[in-house]
Each structure stands twice: as C-alpha cells, then as structure tokens.
Amino acid sequence: MEYKSSDISSAYLRSRKIPSTACAGCGLGMNHKIVIQAIKELKLAVEDIIWGTSIGCAGRQTFGTWKGDGVAGTHGRIYAIARGLRVVLPPNKELILTVGDGDAFGIGLNHLIHAARSNADMTVIVNDNLGYQSTGGQYGWTTPQGSKTDSSPYGMFEHNLMSEGMDVLHILKGAGATFLARHVSMDGAWAVDTVKKAILNKGFSLVHMTFPCPTNFASKELGSRDPVKIFNWIKNHAAPMGQEKDDTIWVTGIYHDASNSRPEFSRLIHETVEKIRRTGTL
C-alpha cells in the first residue's frame, strides 16, 4: 500500500510543524513517515492516539507534529509519564512514543525497563542517530565502537549496548517486553509492517530504528556531511536477520514477538482494583 506523503501529512500532522526544523539531510523524517504510514494502514484516527516524545533530535522534531494530543517529557522520563497516563486512559487509546537513543537507552533506561516489566501498552519508537547529536555529537550507548565523535575524539572504545554480543533488546526481552524489533530507516514498507505489529500488541512494544545524521555523526565519523554517504553507510551495515555479514552492525527484523501473551499493565491494575473494591480481597 502506498500513500503520498502530502496526504498522510494533511490527515495526521499539524501543518505548523511540518516540515520540521531538522538539519538538511536528516533521516528522522523517514522514521516519522514509517510510523505515520503504519497508523494510516491500521486505519487509526487522530483521536485514537496520544503522542509522547522526549528531548533530543527525535523528541524535539516530532513533538507537536501529531494533530491530536501530545506530551513531551524531560530527558528519559516520558516512559514514567506514559505509564501513569496509560493506567488512567481508556484502553482503546494508543500511546505512541517517538524518542531518541540517548533518552531510551541512557538516561531513561531504568524507566524503560519498568515500562517493559509492567507490560504497559505503548509503542516506543527509538529513533537512533548513533549518539547525542542535538548537543553537538557525543557518543551514546549504541554508537558503533571505534566511531569518532565530539566526546570520543580517539574513537569510541567503551563497551556499549550493541557491541561484543551485547544487545539492549536482550535486556528489554529479559525485562518482559512483549514485542521487540530493529530496523534502519531505509527499510520502508517492511518497517511499516513491523510498526503495525508493534501497535497491535496490547502491551509494551519497542522498535529500534537507526537513521542517518549527516550533520554531526557523519561529519565526524565519515568526514562528510553528504547525506548520501551516511545513508549508504548505514544501509551497507544493516542486514535482515539470517543474512548478516561480518561487518553488519544492525541486524534487522522482529527480535521477539510475544504479542498479547501476558496481561497488559493497566488492564491488570483495573481488574485487580475492581476485585478488591467489590470483595475486599484478591
């Protein structure tokens, strides 16, 4: 199914905020479009969704773009706000969060783990530009090892959450997330399908989606702000699950799908409260 960007945009997005103020060549818009297209294909309406964001490039550029209700948290806290909101919202409202890698996997990781643990119904799209780019380009927790950034001028040499067999998605699986996937922004319709599945899971879903940052990441690591170079670099280092090569950094596809397999957080809370209210016991 294909849609013209302008049709999607006028149906779901506020004209005041589109186009965004992102840097020239930024790939965030590709991720954003993937999410909006998934919403459109699921035939969800503006009022069906409450949009949450964080800070940094991903949060700042997507906040207030959704025509409906929107909330932005400070660094790493939107998962806790969303969990409080989830438990008092009607169950048919979808919560979609577009956040960045530093927010989700750094400062917010504890809150994110507890959102996964409680299986709170929300879809978290982690838009990964490989570090802290809105602050000028410092390394983050998914920055490929060896990458030169403003805070790793000799190359990023620390262990991180996507190196040496470690994977932040393993942590989230262990914490109880019921849907986990990884994509790069060039995955297009395939990523749209994944995001649709993530939204349909009545529980905690997270899609980790890497996108190109020409301004900061690429200018330091690749020595060029040419968007084509960083687009190709990410594309060449991504491969679908089962087709990995030696130099693959992003193995793409659905990592874990236990959709609707255990009680959702707010449903569990409300059913329990109702039982206690009626009978005085569990």
């Binding site: 005041r16 906040f63 400070t74 806790a80 409080g84 909101l85």
Partner: protein, 391 residues
C-alpha cells in the same frame, strides 16, 4: 465524624481520599513509607490506583501521567527522595499540572538519620527545581489532624492554581500517633473548613494563557482537545518554542498567578499572644511550634511579653507578618538556620533576629523559656558545645 488514634500518614491518606485523590505513586522511604502502605491498602477499596515506582523521580512522573489523564494524584517522600522530584516538579510547574507532593522531613544532609525529624528543606520547598521563573506553594502542618487539613487544602490549591502544591511535614507528625477526626460527609467536611475543587477539563485551544487568572482547568489528554504540553517554552496553544518574549510571558504566568492570588491561602498561620505587640516574637513552623506555643504560654504566665507566630503557608513567604519592629527568635529543626534568613529579610532592618536550632529532637520548654529571658534581657546567646545559638 469518626475518631481514630492514628498516625499523620493515616490522616493524610484519609484526607486525600476525601477530596477525590484516586492515584498515588511512591517509593519506600522512611518516614513516608507508611503513607504509601496506607494508600496501597485504602485506594483500591475506593476504586483508586496505587503504584510503587522504580524510584522517586518516576513516582512523581507517574503522578504527572495520571494527572494528565484526569486523575487527582499524590506522591510522598522524605528529603533524599524529594531531591529526585526536582525533574518532575519542574515539569509540573512549567506544564501547569496539578499534583500534591508531601515531604516528611528527616535529619540531613544526604541519608542522614532516617527516624528523626528535621527541617532541612525550607528553601528546597521554595526552589524544588532548577531554572527559576516560578513561584511555589508550600503548606506546613504541625499535627496529624492538620496534616489531613493541609492535604485537603493542597489538592484544592493545586486544582485552582493548576500547579504542584507541597505539604512539608516531618517525621514526628507523619509517624506519631494522635487523636484524629475524619469527616464522613460533605457537611462535616465543611464544618472542618475543608475546601474541595473538582477536576475539570480544559477544552483549549489556549492552554497556557498569558494571565495571572486562576480556575483555568488543567490540560487533560485523551479528550481529543488537541492539547500539547511540553517541557519547552509553550505558546498559548501549547506549541514548543524557544524564544525570549514567549518565555517571559510564560514565566509571568507561573510567577504572578501565585503572587497575585495569595489572598486565597495567606490566612494559613497561627498567632498566640500576638495582640499586644510582644517584645519577642517566636517564629516557627511544623512540630517545633508545639513546644514553642507551650513555652510562650508559660513565659506569659511568668510575665514575659512573648508571642508566637506559626507559619503554615510557608511559601510564598508571608512577609506581612513581620512588620513589627521588635525582637524575633526563630526556632527550627536544623543547625544551619534557614527560616531565620527569611525572617531577617522580612523583618524591619533594625530589629533583632535570633536563631535556636535543634535537629533530630525538639527543643525543651525550659531551654526555650531560658532563651526568651536572655534575649529580652539583652544577654548574649552562647554556644553550648557544638550547638550554635547565636546567629
């Protein structure tokens, strides 16, 4: 009216439930743990939700989420947890999100002494977050019964002012057992002076008007109003913008909606023997005020012209009580002197301001009356061991 021999934590719980609080999130911390426990027992019985958070920062963010969903929400902690509220407190101030926050003071700094009362957060309650450009409202009860009343009042003010409102108690009040009356109906609540403001829903589009107006319903998400709330400078419609003029307008509202409407809560104080322009005014808040009141009454019976001023509305600071050019003694549960600085600022320039600080334990009546006498005779206050009496 039902009577109980119970703790301040019990009183706070019942007060919150009476005014429609149906969401509490907290993190275990002495001496506020029993409040979380009481909420976990009582809220489900009323159809309400208790959540135990992963940390205090999350606890207040969970309350923000619930408040954004239309619930009256509350959290409670002690000093080491309150400091983790700095992040969400700022968010709730900036986004005008009603939440009630209780801080039960213990001895600090850092973990300090868990099971002893302290008043080390006088200024922290005024500046609970970074950045400035806001006013805060803080109420300080001195008994279990008043804990209930001030919790009720905090919910009322947080809805009308559309902001977080804090209650500053201490370990003795929240953990101590006292005689508590709980009203059972609206008439009894009215009789006890309880004010209730229902949660209303803002319909937009001007979510953040540039006025000092009260009674504007808060933003509630999920009502299809197109509400936007963020941690950045908002425009009136809620769009994020980083621009000095817009931020000045926003700050004007955050400061002056409180400053220009203090009459709604500035009756919250207690004066004992203050009608005859006393030669010495003893200023305090919270638990120490109970000893102060006893000492002042005793001193009066001994012929000393002493009066007691107890602040309940701590912030914004009620300067109007300090117009008398006389001697002041400020009694606090800390050794560094916090309230005393504010009294020095508010009192006439040539008035004589003294400080008596204890921490972890209350001052005794004889020690207080002896200090009153010394001050009135113009004798210098001396250091007793490591304790600082002269300020």
């Amino acid at each position: 009216m039902k009577r109980f021999l119970e703790t301040g934590n019990f009183a706070i719980t019942e007060g919150a439930i009476l005014v429609g609080c149906r969401f509490f999130a907290g993190y275990p911390i002495t001496p506020a743990t029993e409040l979380a426990e009481a909420m976990s027992l009582r809220l489900p019985q009323e159809g309400g939700i208790y959540l135990q958070a992963e940390d205090e920062c999350a606890a207040m963010h969970l309350c923000i989420g619930a408040s954004l969903g239309g619930y009256k929400a509350m959290t409670a902690t002690s000093g080491p947890g309150f400091i983790l509220y700095a992040d969400p407190y700022g968010w709730a101030l900036g986004c005008e999100c009603p939440v009630v926050v209780l801080n039960s003071g213990r001895v600090g700094p850092v973990s300090g002494i868990t099971g002893a009362p302290g008043q080390g957060e006088f200024y922290l309650m005024r500046y609970p977050t970074h950045g400035g450009n806001f006013e805060t409202i803080c109420l300080a009860p001195n008994s279990a019964q008043e804990c209930m009343a001030m919790t009720v009042e905090a919910f009322y003010l947080s809805e009308r002012f559309r902001m977080p409102v804090s209650v500053l108690a201490d370990q003795l009040i929240t953990d101590g057992f006292e005689d508590i009356s709980v009203p059972e109906n609206d008439a009894e609540m009215k009789e006890m002076g309880f004010r209730v403001w229902p949660r209303k829903i803002h319909q937009g589009p001007d979510f953040y008007p540039v006025t000092d107006e009260l009674d504007i319903p808060p933003v509630v998400l999920g009502q299809n109003t197109g509400a936007l709330c963020s941690d950045w400078t908002p425009t009136e419609e809620g769009y994020d913008i980083e621009e000095v003029e817009a931020h000045h307008k926003h700050a004007y509202r955050l400061i002056y909606k409180v400053r220009n409407n203090r009459h709604i809560f500035n009756h919250l104080y207690e004066k004992v023997h203050m009608d005859d322009d006393p030669d010495l005014v003893v200023v305090s808040y919270g638990t120490p005020s109970r000893v102060v009141n006893t000492a002042v009454k005793k001193a009066r019976s001994n012929g000393l012209k002493v009066g007691a001023l107890r602040l309940i509305n701590l912030w914004p600071f009620p300067d109007e009580h300090f117009s008398l050019n006389t001697k002041y003694l400020v009694v606090e549960l800390n050794w560094d002197g916090e309230l005393v600085r504010e009294v020095q600022r508010a009192a006439p320039k040539d008035s004589d301001v003294h400080f008596l600080g204890t921490c972890g334990d209350l001052p005794t009546v004889p020690r207080l009356t002896e200090t009153f006498e010394k001050i009135l005779k113009g004798q210098p206050l001396q250091r007793i061991g490591w304790e600082v009496e002269a300020w």
